[in-house]
Subunit: 198 residues, 2 copies
């Protein structure tokens, strides 16, 4: 790539190392960046270092935040006795967007996956159990509904049961607006099993 010169070459290389960005997208982005107004390019670079240097885990729920305690955990109006367990920060955001959940969260940063060699000690499970020392009414397990998510849900459920704290799992079923025709058999079966009277 030395027909681009060293500076563009190394920018392309850095961009291409990001997930989901191939060499062509990296080239397009690099040329966009060198043609950007200078202050825009500097703002992008500053946002990267600023986020990397100042973002860490919330001391309570382990979401990513630039404060000591994240805005959700610091909010007195939220129900701190109800904890929703999610695999990652994007899942937390997905539930926050609904505006329907008033409890707090616990971010595992992963799911148990024997195939990938990820065990219970590799995710924030010990930290969850520590939080349960204080008064908690309910733990809602909102891990994904794939193999890893289900394994993790089962594991957590068995871990918490002896403490007497209520453990629930978000329902799986047909997504709203989804077609039965395009829904996989496992989901169809689950939706049938979990049917409710109307």
């Amino acid at each position: 790539m030395d027909y681009y010169g060293e500076k563009i070459g190394s920018l392309i290389e850095e961009l291409a190392s990001l997930p989901g960005i191939g060499i062509k997208s990296a080239q397009r982005l690099a040329f966009h960046i060198v043609n950007m107004p200078k202050e825009k390019a500097h703002a992008l670079a500053a946002a990267i270092t600023d986020a990397r240097d100042n973002v860490h885990y919330c001391r309570e729920c382990y979401t990513l935040t630039d404060r000591d305690i994240c805005p959700i955990c610091a909010n007195d109006k939220r129900n701190h006795r109800q904890i929703m367990v999610v695999e990652n920060v994007r899942d937390l955001a997905a539930y926050e967007k609904t505006g329907e959940y008033e409890g707090v969260y616990h971010v595992l940063h992963g799911a148990i996956s024997p195939m990938l060699g990820i065990g219970p000690e590799d995710i924030k499970l010990k930290e969850l159990m520590q939080r349960l020392q204080s008064e908690v009414d309910e733990v809602i397990i909102a891990t994904n509904s794939g193999l890893e998510g289900e394994t993790t849900a089962m594991y957590i459920s068995r871990l918490i049961k002896p403490t007497g704290i209520k453990v629930t799992r978000i329902a799986s079923g047909i997504p709203v607006g989804g077609d039965l025709e395009n829904t996989d058999e496992v989901t169809l079966k689950r939706a049938l099993d979990a049917r409710t009277e109307i």
Copy 2:
């Protein structure tokens, strides 16, 4: 997006303003970046500012370079009497990758497009005509084969004809409506070999 906190929020915003990066990709990238080793994140930021601050047009051919004159124009072994006119730097790179072209380039940074309001004065055409004051044997027009590219090719051809310099157009073989950037090297080479005078 304030459940992510300000730092991640502004990083997501900056990333989402890049072309081809939607809000979901921006989120994924942002979380990747805050989890990167610190030196990797800083290297990415540095590559951005470094490229933006130090990359400019080559004084000769108007490609992007971090030197005064780009490595191609500075290369005495290239044929400086043969100039290939391309729309952008990615197209130059596409021909360089073939390893088949030994002349030099001229990067227009665009194509004439009455629809988008881009006229001959908005691309590096005046600069091309200035280069033709020195001794040039042939101008190879390698603009894309879409409407804008063909319009630009015709315009340049008519402009240069009176000077007596040979003007050629790369052959079709490149699918009509396609971009040079996404064309395989064999097709690019064939198109070069079969160029015709226009």
